[in-house]
Subunit: 207 residues, 2 copies
């Protein structure tokens, strides 16, 4: 998605060659226009999949998920990272390991909002090692609903999350695929040529 | 706002005569259509206030804030309840006391996204004792930006938050004002007559 790639390139900041900070438009300050475009892209990708619910995780997944839900005209459920006072009925839970924090945490979802008739689109802001997406898949599957697709705003394609989800056979749509953050430069996967811009550049540099 | 009141009446659930559970459309499952209508109502109320930024707090404030930001065409910043790895520059912080959990917590906002030229609309899902709203006001004021208005989706008018904010002189717009949750029944403030539906009913019952 061209607009999103431009936005990441212009407003994103790479830290230590592996952290991509996108707090100017996605996960602290949110650009509603970009989120609308993201929602339109996901809605277009999954419009024929009979989606009945969207599931995401607080907090950065909420804006893109709600924009997608608006266009597909389906409710959005955001999994919580803490069990709240009012979240107690039919509680579904899954463990998610955070490599950043080096600890396992639970995520929670009320099973009251999903049934075996639901076809769920999972949406999240980032896909890196795949832990959050796998946690959301486990929550949805506990409710007997089907995972009909996975929409990711930014995929770190140099980490193993995408491959893990591919192996499980899910329909995945990542709107921006980062090939490398090496030397704090953002390089995208070149989808058209099935290769990587940065590799091409490196190759070029060797000639 | 008629649509919101209907939605609260039909989908809300009162627990112990004082907790209003709205997790079917606002703070766990989110109804994007209702959020759009909420956004339109806030945008209409504050359209002449020269709003340049919206500030809310994760997680339930995000959906209504982003819908409002989309219509007013301004960025949304959501304050965080935890300090993250990438949220460290120009960090603003305020203490918020939670009466439910009986503990004080900090909320965080990057000062990099606000300046003395900004006119900020604060949006939150609930106003009860006013602690979260006051915390957000303190964050915005630390950045030297102006608080140009406060938009609340559901106000518990029987608690003191509204009065506290009124005394400080802010322009407040609450889309649904709950007069009472007594006996687990939801009664709204009757804005037209400057009185309370439930009081009218009680009065009627005495005749």
């Amino acid at each position: 998605m061209e607009l999103l790639q431009q936005c990441i390139q212009e407003k994103g900041k790479v830290i230590d060659g592996h952290i991509l900070k996108v707090d100017r438009f996605l996960n602290h300050q949110v650009d509603p226009m970009i989120m609308k475009a993201v929602g339109e892209a996901f809605a277009d990708e999954f419009k024929d999949k009979g989606i009945t619910k969207i599931v995401t995780i607080e907090s950065s997944g909420i804006a893109p998920a709600v924009m997608t839900g608006l266009i597909l005209n389906v409710p959005v459920i955001f999994a919580r990272k803490k069990q709240s006072l009012t979240l107690q009925d039919d509680l579904l839970t899954a463990e998610v390991y955070s490599y950043t924090k080096k600890e396992a945490n639970h995520i929670y979802l009320s099973g009251a909002f999903l049934s075996d008739k639901d076809r769920v689109l999972i949406i999240d802001d980032f896909l890196a090692k795949g832990e959050a997406a796998l946690g959301l898949i486990r929550l949805v599957e506990q409710s007997q609903a089907d995972v009909a697709g996975i929409g990711i705003v930014i995929e770190k394609s140099f980490q193993e999350g995408r491959e893990k989800l591919n192996k499980l056979g899910y329909h995945i749509c990542s709107l921006a695929r980062i090939a490398s953050l090496h030397e704090n430069r953002i390089e995208f996967v070149n989808e058209d040529k099935g290769s990587v811009k940065s590799s091409m550049k490196n190759l070029h540099g060797l000639q």
